[in-house]
Symmetry: C2
Subunit: 314 residues, 2 copies
């Protein structure tokens, strides 16, 4: 089990390499939502997402011997960038399996950090089999995007930073593989004061919602959502932490995710990716539940392909 | 003439109503530009732009008697929102003449602050004649978007805040009517330490560049640029301040403005409008001139119509 001390040590380990990202709020969003929302801006984090926290933590926990053949992982994007950047920091090689439909901006970024990419078809099976093949070939150490105690412990530091600054009644994080949500739940348990932890998930990739409802982890799904960072299926360790420490998973439709994303762009004047907007969408779709409360939302990342906007301009 | 004390007093007058906006920077933009750029994020300002500074200052300088019939102005957008919001704060009415091609997001915002809009054709002549007609009808006090000492003194507070926090070799601001640039120049003279002040202007609306070059204010132009906040022509008071206190005006093409805007969106993860990106475009197009220097850029605003991006998503 991941302890409070594990998370504290992870934070010490990664502190010099990451930003203590700012907290933002918007009067107009609060008025619209009927509660007091504080956003933890991990879109301003190094590599543009919280994923760098877990990646650096996990790689820094490896021995010199383990690092000598590099690291390998699969990711739809932000974990890939994070592992590539963290590997560069630790002077080792990162082999990355990415789905062929990953946003161009994320592919470019991985390459800019020196990550070596292998593309595969966009299913979990294809990702895992490509990854195993690559691992065998290179003898690199596999670092799961989410199902890994050092990753979860690293992701927990985002909520820890937030809770050290402001009191909250509820904290929300999006859920894909469950690294951020599991970490947020543990940080809230150890460093918060009786906080409800809620996961927010797209209806088109609702395996965490169904897993909690059915009391067993669902391992197969065919996800279909605009939230491209949440296509992955809940991890094993993640499920075991989430079922014990998360109050509830709320699901939202893509239409509501896009509206929430636009609201963040327009009112906060910051760029967030669709996955990031899922928790705000969950609050706006369940206003009664959150009325008058102090809500914390972890904005997970800001890596979005801007071609549609800028092509229209040119 | 606007004194250091005028600017100090303006700052005291508006302080409680505005944000002391954050300073941001990006390692990757610095690497690309070959200098050390700090961005003053007025896109995070109330109403999404620096214009609220001048608007509140100007309205707070009016007497009760002057305020009783309201205020009137013309604006392509951000000044309109600022005057509407400031008038609301001071419990008076704002009559606003806006060009009929003003971005929808700006029109909606003016209406949300209770401003009363009259639309006109998008030329300076039409704006001024509609405004005079409205002023006659309502007896409201005219507040120029830029050619007004209290406006200039208010806009100067953005550079003042920046200079009180960090040392700079050069400061850049975009120039349309010249309120921000004139204010920035005066703030740099009074509160900076031997700083070069540079205006950045779209080639398609280069009246300030030509005015300085020809030694007399050009009063007519047919602007054509994507930087919709900079379509206005340099004001009289603005010209007289700028010619004495600005080192140079650099002009840039729309293509370079869009590239700089995209860079700010992608690397800083913040929303800025095209006008905002003109100074960064000027730096990137003149790298030799700025090599190794400490550069301050005032990001003027973040009110951009997001329809093109979100329509493509839906």
């Amino acid at each position: 089990m991941i302890s409070a001390n594990d998370i504290r040590q992870s934070h010490e380990r990664i502190k010099e390499h990451i930003h203590d990202t700012p907290l933002l709020n918007s009067e107009s969003i609060n008025a619209l939502a009927g509660c007091e929302i504080t956003f933890k801006c991990e879109n301003f984090q190094k590599v543009g997402a919280f994923k760098i926290r877990g990646a650096i933590n996990a790689i820094k926990c490896l021995s010199k011997n383990e690092l000598k053949n590099g690291v390998v992982t699969h990711s739809s994007g932000n974990h890939a960038q994070a592992i590539a950047k963290a590997a560069k920091l630790m002077n080792t090689v990162a082999y990355i399996v990415m789905p062929e439909n990953a946003p161009k901006v994320k592919v470019n970024a991985v390459q800019s950090y020196g990550g070596k990419i292998t593309f595969c078809t966009p299913t979990l099976e294809a990702r895992e089999s490509s990854m195993k093949h690559l691992q065998k070939k290179t003898s690199a150490v596999f670092i799961s995007p989410y199902d890994h105690p050092d990753i979860i412990s690293g992701q927990a530091t985002a909520a820890k930073e937030m809770l050290e600054k402001i009191p909250l009644n509820v904290i929300l994080a999006p859920v894909g593989g469950g690294g951020l949500l599991a970490g947020t739940a543990l940080a809230s348990k150890y460093f918060g004061n009786d906080i409800d932890v809620i996961g927010a998930e797209p209806s088109g990739a609702d395996d965490a919602y169904r897993s909690l409802k059915e009391g067993k982890r669902i391992t197969k799904q065919t996800p279909n959502t605009i939230a491209d960072g949440l296509l992955t299926t809940l991890g094993e360790l993640n499920y075991s932490i989430i079922k014990d420490n998360v109050n509830e998973i709320l699901t939202v439709e893509d239409y509501d995710i896009l509206n929430a994303m636009r609201l963040i762009w327009e009112r906060l004047k910051i760029i967030v990716e669709p996955s990031c907007a899922v928790p705000l969408a969950a609050v706006l779709c369940n206003k009664e539940q959150f009325k008058g409360k102090k809500i914390g939302i972890i904005l997970s990342g800001g890596n979005v392909d801007l071609d549609p906007f800028f092509n229209d301009f040119l």
